[in-house]
């Protein structure tokens, strides 16, 4: 195995550059190193101006998502040896505005996430002394969707979001579904008003790549299709029972 590997890193300085460009660096190729280690090596030893987000280094915080050789990945979970012999192309996540180098602006996602109301909504709150019990089966209903770490790899993999920025996107819908499936929640109808719109679930054409790139196996594509089924049933119910049956 060669002891060095090249990284082609996309650079963009908002004050100097009209558009992004690539810079090549050579770093040691160590079998225990992930792409994030290589980026930190560049920042510490080769070019201190290289800008990127990272925090936990163990696939929990969701900060270090980037395109590695054209595929959205957590750089803390992508070993350099997987990319050998290189060069390894490292770019910011697709479909988001680039702020600087490998840092993208995720404001749009944060707005959409808030709109999908990812919290427990109760019609009547229980007194603080009382608990909301759940069986293991009830936890299993939503647990998969609760694993989302907001890393946004799914948004970078979703061509629909790239082509139609109004689309709510995979994670926001999966997180809405996480609360819809929660036995303690009573806010499904409030979320449906937002997510049943064209830019919500119906914008999804089921490319399925969001699920493939998800590092936490959340399956946002599954969440959206299940929501489509629920939404269609609710629509049918509204036709059959126009007065509504809560």
């Amino acid at each position: 195995m060669a002891n060095r590997i090249q990284l082609r890193v996309k650079r963009f300085h908002p004050e100097h550059d009209q558009e992004p460009w690539f810079e090549t660096y050579e770093v040691p190729l160590r079998k225990e190193w992930v792409v994030l280690d290589a980026l930190n090596y560049i920042k510490d030893h080769l070019d201190g101006s290289l800008t990127f987000r990272w925090s936990c280094r163990m696939g929990v915080c969701g900060s270090c998502g980037m395109e590695v050789n054209g595929v959205p990945k957590l750089t803390c979970a992508t070993f350099l040896t997987e990319c050998a012999p290189g060069p390894v192309r490292v770019e910011p996540l697709k479909n988001f505005p680039i702020l600087r180098d490998l840092v993208v602006d995720i404001s749009d996602f944060l707005v959409k996430l808030a709109k999908s109301k990812p919290w427990i909504i109760r019609k009547v709150e229980k007194p603080l002394e009382e608990e909301y019990f759940q069986t293991p089966e009830q936890v299993d209903e939503y647990k998969q969707f609760s694993m989302c770490i907001n890393c946004l790899l799914c948004y970078a993999a979703c061509p629909v979001y790239g082509l139609d920025p109004l689309f709510s996107g995979p994670a926001a819908i999966a997180l809405a579904q996480r609360y819809n499936m929660d036995s303690r929640d009573q806010g499904a109808s409030k979320r449906m008003d937002i997510l049943s719109q064209h830019d919500g679930i119906w914008g999804c054409t089921f490319v399925g790549e969001c699920t493939k790139v998800c590092p936490k196996h959340v399956d946002p594509a599954g969440a959206i299709q299940q929501y489509k089924l629920t939404s269609s049933i609710e629509w049918l119910k509204s036709l059959v029972l126009p007065r509504g049956a809560e």
Binding site: E15, N95, P97, I98, D140, G208, K212, G222, Q225, Q226
Partner: protein
């Protein structure tokens, strides 16, 4: 759109290329799946024309059969066959994503949802093949 922060930094908004779907096989496969709908529609049209010809009597049906024998129709139908099979296979493989079936508290694996779809497809195809081949004798 409401921006959660007052400060809007200068940024670069990348444009999605018209040929974005050529970049990865998974995207190309998705586009092929979408395109397959056109071939499904073509087969539906051919079937409707066939029914109309059948209703029109033996002469009209013979003309329809002659039209089916045109090289371009044969080529189009062969291509359509592969696209329709591709459409059906991808559709059945996606079915488990949309349907969550639980038995005794456990979610059934995807194969348990897809398998009955494939079985029904096989049965219906066998029945149709039996009827068609019986007519050829």
């Amino acid at each position: 759109m409401i921006n959660p922060t007052e400060y809007v930094p200068k940024s670069f908004q990348p444009r999605v290329s018209t040929y974005w779907w050529l970049g990865r096989w998974a995207y190309a496969k998705f586009i092929l799946r979408e395109v397959s709908s056109l071939f499904v529609a073509w087969i539906v049209v051919v079937t409707l024309l066939q029914i109309r010809a059948l209703k029109g009597g033996p002469t009209e049906y013979a003309e329809f059969q002659a039209w089916l024998g045109n090289p371009w129709v044969v080529i189009l139908n062969i291509i359509s066959f592969f696209f329709v099979v591709f459409h059906a296979v991808t559709w059945f493989n996606l079915a488990p994503k949309a349907m969550v079936v639980r038995m005794q508290g456990k979610r059934l694996p995807g194969v348990a949802i897809a398998a009955p779809n494939y079985a029904a497809w096989l049965v219906v195809s066998s029945v149709v093949a039996w009827i068609v081949l019986r007519g050829l004798k």
